[in-house]
Every structure is written in C-alpha cells, then in structure tokens.
C-alpha cells in the first residue's frame, strides 16, 4: 500500500496554485484568500440575509450582545464568536499572526461575527497555528453558528492544520477576511 501523505498533497496543490513559489511566501501572499475559501457555502445564506440584515439587539446572539472590541486576549472579543482553542494573542502571536515557530494553516473554519462598533457582520477565518504543542493560554470555545462535522468549514473541533509541516495544534487566530453582508 502506498502511503498517502496529506501534507505533501496539500503542499503540492498549494505550490501549483502559487506558480511554484515556496509555500511560506505563497502563503503570505495568498493566505487570506485561501483560508477564507471554505466559507463559500455560507454565501447563499449570507446573500439571502443581505437584503435586509437584522443587526438589532433582538437578532443578536448572547455572544454578540456582550462582545467587546478593545481586548484581543479575551474570549469575548468580537471576532471570536465561533473560535475554539487557545487565543494566539495570548501565546506570543497576534490576531492574525502565529507565535514564533508556529505555522498558519492555509485553510480554516470560519465564523460570521458582528462588530459592535458598526453593527455590521464580518467573515472571520479562524486559522490554526500549527507545529507546536498546545499553547494552553486563554482557552475559549464560542459557538455562534458553529455546526457539525458534515459541514466542516463551520465546525470548530476539527484540527485545521492542512498543508503545514506538522499537524500539531498550537493556537487559533481570527483573521478578518471581509464583510459578510
């Protein structure tokens, strides 16, 4: 039996996609677009709602009603509405930056979170940082619109470390990808 190597496979596809540049540099350039990708099954829903999005307090989840925009190291920071895991902002990384030595996954699950400052919904890509042991700091598990495994791009339990050199989970970032409506 030949061994299927998910990492090699991911990298091959990514290299092809990036025209032969190195995976890391390609990732830097393409990362946001690639990672947001699994979100597109959301599009029909987002668009259906886009006609007249209801962002009133009555339409907001518990999380959205109490979210804040000041402190990225707390579970109630607005972008974390569907995050699960350790916040990279507490692990030596940033809101869209992996801690030193970790590697962002080019694909991710996504969330649609409301920014309380403008009341608008945004698409957030929860890119896992991979290749180091679990950071242990600031563990959060928020579940707005989080679904089950048959809809993996909306499930926050999957280890989203594909195309990285190691699939060890270190922490999660919350990358702003675009407006959701």
């Amino acid at each position: 039996m030949t061994k299927f190597n998910a990492d090699a496979w991911g990298e091959k596809l990514l290299r092809k996609f990036a025209g032969g540049s190195s995976r890391r540099s390609m990732l830097t350039r393409m990362g946001a677009a690639l990672v947001a990708a699994p979100a597109f099954p959301l599009l029909p829903v987002s668009r259906a709602e886009a006609a007249k999005p209801d962002r009133s307090p009555e339409a907001k989840t518990v999380f959205a009603r109490s979210a804040q925009t000041k402190d990225e190291t707390k579970c109630d920071y607005w972008r974390y509405c569907a995050i699960d895991g350790a916040l990279c902002t507490c692990c030596g990384g940033g809101i869209h930056s992996c801690p030193p030595g970790a590697e962002p996954s080019p694909v991710s699950w996504v969330g649609t979170c409301i920014n309380p400052d403008d009341g608008k919904a945004y698409l957030i890509a929860y890119r896992d940082c991979c290749g180091k042991p679990a950071c242990g700091q600031c563990g959060c598990d928020n579940t707005d619109r989080e679904t089950q495994l048959y809809m993996p791009q909306l499930n926050n339990d999957v280890i989203w470390c594909f195309g990285t050199t190691s699939m060890e989970y270190h922490c999660s970032t919350a990358v702003l990808v675009g407006a959701a409506s």
Binding site: F4, T61, T143, Y150, M151, V158
Partner: protein, 390 residues
C-alpha cells in the same frame, strides 16, 4: 554511608549481575514464613455489557475501562490524542484508529488501526491507513460493521472520504470519496450511511473498492438547526436516532434506501414550548459533546439538557431527560449535581447511565432509581463508549 558502600554502589551501576546475590543475603534476614512476592500481569474478561469506556481526551492518552456495577477500573486501552476506539462486536478485540508521527509531532505521519486483544490488552497488529480525520470527541468517525468484519474510518484531508478496513484479513481495502458528508453509521449488507451538509442522509453501497452513493431528500437544516453528529445507532432495529440543536428528534430506518420519520420536539414532549433558533429565547436545550444515548430494548432516549439561548449546543447539561421515543414523551427528568458533557447508557436490563463532564469525573446513575451508584475521579473527560457484545 562509608566509602566502602560507595564502591558497592559503583558495582551496582555496572549491571544486574550482582543484584541477586545481594538480595539473597537480604532475604536471609527475613522471617522464615515471609515469601517474597512475585510480579505478574493480570488479564481481563472480554467486554461485558456493564462495562463502559472513557476516553481521556486531550489530556490523558488512554481510554479507561470501568465496570459500571462496581465502579472499578478494569484496564486501559491506549488511545493517544485524537484517536478513536471501537469495540469488536464479537468481543475479541479493541480497535484504535490513530495517527502517530515518527517524532512526536514531527517526522513521518503514520495512520493506522491498531488492534488489541481484549483479554490481554496486548497489541496484536497495526493496519496501515492512507489517512483519517484529526478531531476529538467523535463516536462516528471510526465505526465497525454490525458483524464485526469491516471498519469504516472517516478521512478529511480536507477532501472528505472513508477508508475501509477488512478486519478479518486485517488490511485496508478501499478509499471512497464522500463529498459533503460525514458522521458514519453502519448499513448492514449495504455499506454505511452518513449525514450531509445539504440536510440529507447519504448511503454508500460498497462494492469491492467502489462506493455507490445515493441521498435521501434533505430532511434537516445543517446550517441553522444541525443534527448532533454524535447520534445513536441501534444494531438490532437498524435504526438511527438523531437530535438537533433545537431539540428535534428524528428516527431513521437504515437500509439501502433509508427512511426518516417526521421529527418531534423534546421540549414539546415534556409539555413546554419547543426550542427555537431565535436569540433571546431562553429555553431548555440539548447540549454537550455527546449529548444523547438510546437504550435499545426499551426505546428510551437520554438527553443532556441545559437552560440557555440558541447556539449554546456545546454547553454541558444540568439535567438528563428520559424520552420514550415511540410515545414521544419525556417520562423522567434527572437533575445533575455537576453539569455533564457526555452521556451513554448500558444496554442491560437494568440500564445504567454513564456521564462525565469538563472535570473528567465519571458518574454512574441507576436509571430505575435515579441513584448515583459511583462517582469516579479523573476517569477522563471525553467520549464514553459502552460494551455491547453480540
């Protein structure tokens, strides 16, 4: 200690050879009736209907075997982080689907089904796989067919597929693509079924290394009211029982063309208003990682319930609701001292509920009396499996 004894210690460090003599001298000091004990290794029975298996989850790389009657630990099956365990329905083996890197979290990736003898718990063999999903706390990513002959291993790389293992020959036989679906259940004589992102159920008729995929009509809303992927499957009735985030209960008859019955609301079955997806509607809702279990013989379903708004589906339950599925009635509500995250029920005449929560404490509750029979500290915080021998 003298210089002399240091030299003896130096001799010690050269190997084992000197030890026995020294101990014989020691043993000579012992009373005549004192026989030094010898070390040995226990064996255990094959899986029994009153046993339950608690996965240690992220923190403990083993699945502990407990006897629900006595509350005693019987042994442990090695299940590293993100491994899935399944029990041979014939009782001969424990199977572990696992992923190991050759240098911990670096080096070469190795996916396999590892086979343990159920009496000695010794490793029998490893069956290499082309891959498997990495996720925790799921019952339905690694399932064994009702006759114990075939294992199905869900893969996500991030293409979605199923790897099939012949457990008789102990080898991988086929990789089948399963786009848009996951969360497997056996489909005897056919292959397997699964839930899909369009709200349908897929059925895969396995023929050799090929899978012929058909779908039911969509029957649930995978985006707005998903079915918990840790659902229950009943081997005897060939029936699956599904539960959604709002509390809708579906039963599905598994066959080459599965049929799904109209759902009912668990809250309505308890005489309160049904669960809703709207914010600000606080109600009793199902939640947890493994939020439900079904007792086959009586058709009783047990659901972890909590008070909250919608999208709190991972929240631990503060009550267990016992539902007579056929009668669509909640017949009993068990209040829990500590919130619980996973639930299972023994398939015995006098069913026992097994639960655990974030703290990793396991609870054994007698369904008939509601009495707490055992509380086991540090049992493990993840999935609970029950023994259900043929």
């Amino acid at each position: 200690m003298s210089r002399n004894s240091r030299r003896i210690f130096a001799a010690f460090s050269l190997g084992y050879a000197l030890f026995a003599g020294a101990v014989m001298a020691q043993a000579a000091d012992a009373p005549a009736d004192l026989t030094p004990e010898e070390s040995d290794v226990m064996t255990i029975d094959p899986p029994k209907p009153t046993w339950f298996y608690v996965d240690g989850g992220w923190d403990m790389p083993g699945t502990s075997i407990f006897d629900g009657e006595t509350g005693k630990m019987k042994g442990m099956v090695e299940t590293r982080r993100l491994a899935d365990m399944a029990i041979d329905p014939n009782g001969q083996y424990y199977y572990v689907a696992e992923t190991i890197w050759s240098k911990g979290d670096r080096g070469t990736r190795q996916d396999m089904v590892t086979v343990y003898d159920s009496k000695t718990l010794n490793l029998v063999t490893e069956i290499p796989l082309p891959g498997r999903i990495l996720i925790g706390s799921r019952k339905n990513n690694f399932i064994v067919s009702d006759d114990g002959k075939t294992a199905f291993v869900y893969d996500f790389s991030p293409t979605s597929g199923v790897n099939i293992v012949d457990l008789t020959k102990k080898k991988f036989t086929a990789a089948i693509e399963l786009p848009g679906c996951a969360s497997l259940m056996p489909n005897p004589g056919v292959g397997f079924s699964a839930l899909c992102s369009d709200g349908s159920m897929a059925t895969v008729a396995v023929k050799g290394t090929k899978g012929d995929i058909t779908h039911t009509a969509p029957f649930f809303d995978a985006t707005n009211d998903p079915i918990f992927d840790n659902f229950a499957y009943d081997r005897a009735k060939k029936q699956a029982t599904f539960l959604t985030y709002t509390g809708q209960i579906y039963t599905a008859q598994i066959s080459a063309s599965p049929t799904v019955a109209a759902p009912f609301s668990i809250q309505a079955a308890a005489g309160i208003r049904p669960g809703e997806t709207k914010p600000l509607e606080t109600n009793w809702l199902p939640g947890g990682r493994q939020p439900m279990a079904v007792h086959r013989a009586t058709g009783m379903m047990f659901v972890l319930m909590h008070m909250g708004e919608y999208w709190t589906h991972k929240e631990s339950g503060t009550e267990v609701w016992q539902v007579d599925v056929a009668a669509k009635k909640v017949v009993k509500r068990f209040k829990l001292k500590d919130p619980m995250n996973n639930i299972a029920v023994s398939q015995t005449d006098k069913p026992l509920l097994y639960m655990n929560g974030e703290k990793g404490e396991a609870l054994v509750i007698d369904v008939a009396t509601g009495e707490e029979k055992h509380k086991i500290e540090k049992a493990g915080g993840s999935t609970i499996t029950i023994a259900d021998p043929l």
